[in-house]
């Protein structure tokens, strides 16, 4: 039998063994080190962006064309980034939640597993392929839809038109982004839905709840913060996606609500990807500075999301 507290056998425990063993402290140290590594990596990215991008804030105005200042240059890009991500979320979130529910609560078990698998498969499709598909296949099918939207809803600023003849629009990019965002959002939602305590689900059912009511009373409230982080992850991916947007979207430096015309603002990331390679050093600095803006932008978005999630967590505590 071990010792520490057995004075007959041992000297007092104080000298015998430190209160926290070395192995425990080592492990905790490793964990902490991993956390700090992340902070350092992020700080590294930030410092890199700041150093390389700072000159880009004030180069010769000709680099900001058609604007003359950095703010004027970046503003349409911020706008495009926001618009594309929002369209993606508008499509993706309901579908992600629906699909996750389907897998966790609705589908017969024999169907649920393959479907979950198929959705994960979607995550594996490289963004280049989404670009190929979105810019070469899907866009053709979007043309009639956009024509129809223009014909019937052109009074809504989003569909002010005139519709693009090639379908390479913000709407198409948003749809492609939505499909790209879907797997990650669905996977996390599915995971949190499935983890709802069985006891709570049964409690709701035993009160005479229908399946949908059970989901509303037991599953959704329990999953709220998980769902928010799922959406955040999706948003993160939508904001930063590069190649697919670059290959699908027909971009020009303007700010518009119109999502079906051929003049659409680029996103920050796609603009970097499109213009980085041929750019001269000064122009590259401008592009990196826009990367810094994207960085700050995701920072802000996360801040807001965190606040929202925090509020819902507090209600749950």
């Amino acid at each position: 039998m071990t010792d520490t507290l057995t004075p007959e056998k041992q000297s007092p425990p104080s000298t015998d063994r430190p209160p926290n063993s070395f192995s425990d402290r080592l492990f905790a140290g490793l964990a902490l080190a991993a956390g700090i590594t992340i902070m350092v990596a992020l700080a590294g990215v930030f410092v890199f962006l700041a150093i390389e991008g700072a000159p880009g804030l004030s180069v010769d105005p000709s680099f900001y064309e058609p604007a003359t200042t950095f703010a004027g240059y970046v503003w349409p890009l911020v706008w495009g980034t926001t618009l594309a991500a929002l369209i993606a979320l508008v499509f993706a979130v309901p579908f992600a939640i629906g699909l996750a529910l389907f897998v966790s609560h609705y589908a017969p078990r024999r169907l649920a597993t393959p479907v979950a698998y198929l959705i994960d498969l979607l995550a594996a499709i490289p963004s280049v392929v989404f670009g190929l598909w979105g810019g070469g296949v899907l866009n053709r099918y979007m043309v009639p839809i956009q024509d129809w939207l223009y014909a019937h809803f052109s009074w809504i600023p989003f569909f002010a038109g005139p519709p693009s003849a090639t379908g390479r629009t913000m709407l198409t990019a948003g749809v492609v982004l939505a499909i790209m965002v879907l797997p990650i959002t669905t996977a996390i939602c599915r995971e949190v839905f499935a983890r709802t305590p069985r006891l709570n689900e049964e409690a709701a059912l035993a009160l005479g709840a229908t399946r949908w009511e059970m989901i509303r009373t037991a599953v959704f409230p329990y999953s709220r913060s998980g769902m928010i982080s799922a959406v955040m992850l999706g948003l993160g991916r939508a904001l930063g996606e590069t190649m697919a947007v670059a290959m699908v979207l027909s971009a020009s430096p303007i700010v518009t609500l119109n999502i079906i015309s051929s003049s659409n603002p680029a996103t920050i990331a796609s603009n970097i990807a499109s213009n980085y390679k041929e750019a001269t050093p000064d122009k590259q600095a401008v592009l990196i500075a826009t990367g810094l803006v994207l960085f700050a932008f995701t920072f802000a978005v996360n801040f807001v999301a965190r606040w929202v999630a925090g509020r819902s967590d507090r209600r749950m505590a």
Binding site: E65, P66, G131, G135, G136, N139, R140, S164, A165, T166, G167, R168, A246, M247, L249, S250, A251, S252, P253, I254, S262, S263, A266, A273, S274, N275, Y276, K277, E278, A279, T280, P281, D282, K283, Q284
Partner: protein, 342 residues
Amino acid sequence: GNEESSGDSSSDSGLSGTLNGGGASSQEKAQAAWRAGFQGDNPDATINYDPVGSGTGRENFINGAYSFAGTDSAINNDEGELDAATERCGDDVIQVPAYVSPIAVIYNLDGVDQLNLSAEVIANIFNGSITKWNDPAIADLNPDATLPGDTITPVHRQDDSGTTDNFTQYLAAAGNGAWKADPDGVWPAEYKGEAAEGTSGVVGAVTDGSGTIGYADASAAADLGVAAIQVGEEFNTPSAEGAAQVVANSPTVEGASPNDMAVDVDRTTTESGSYPLLLVSYLLACPTYDSAEEADLVKGYLTYVVSDAGQQAAADEAGSAPLDSSLSEQAASIIDAISSGS
């Protein structure tokens, strides 16, 4: 795989080692042909070419990351690049044309198989002042065609591109003032239209839409309609010979060093059979390298590139225009001076 067998090919010219270069994406296919040809002759040598774009190519050449670079726009001193390159090389930087390719104006319009356009009309289409296919300006040039009243959707590159740079240079020079914007690799923001990523994106967009028109390296035009452009009184479709002819008759840039063969392309030529809408892409190299192996590889590779065999390989693979023999000889003599050490 194919790599093990690569040692079989019997040649003992014996260059070996790895040579890294990169730059203009327009050269990618030609580079593939050159690398294949050169590596076939020198099985122990590996040449890499990153199609990262002319700007990055030049930058990496200047900072020493690349032993040689490809660039669509000749290096100049507008941003001090030429000085920086000279500093890197310790001597006047070598700049030789390696890849000359006609740019095609491609379009997709039902029922119109043949289309004649002038630089001015092209400029007006791409700047948005001509919006219908049956516009009188177009109809005047195409008396035999039945032009529909469809809207024209011009498609341009959204990325910073050498093709755009050369296309806009042509429009600015030959467009009778219809093109107001400064020629640049980035499409001018004031001129709208569809934007697409890369040459393949433009080709894809023109193919997908109807009533679309765009510009792309002639070898990528595929099955699309290709417009003939007005040169003097005739209308010429893109051809390697026509492009080569223009380059051969263009002067080199004034005040350039003897190592610099940058040509000032004569976009306004009216000479019969020429095709002035073209892209000239250069190779950058140093006259001296620190390491003998590097020097030998650069010299060997570039010699091959400008040789008749190399130019023909590129023409077969990428549809480019082989360099005129005088140009090619001049380039070869500059390259021949590459040496190692101080």
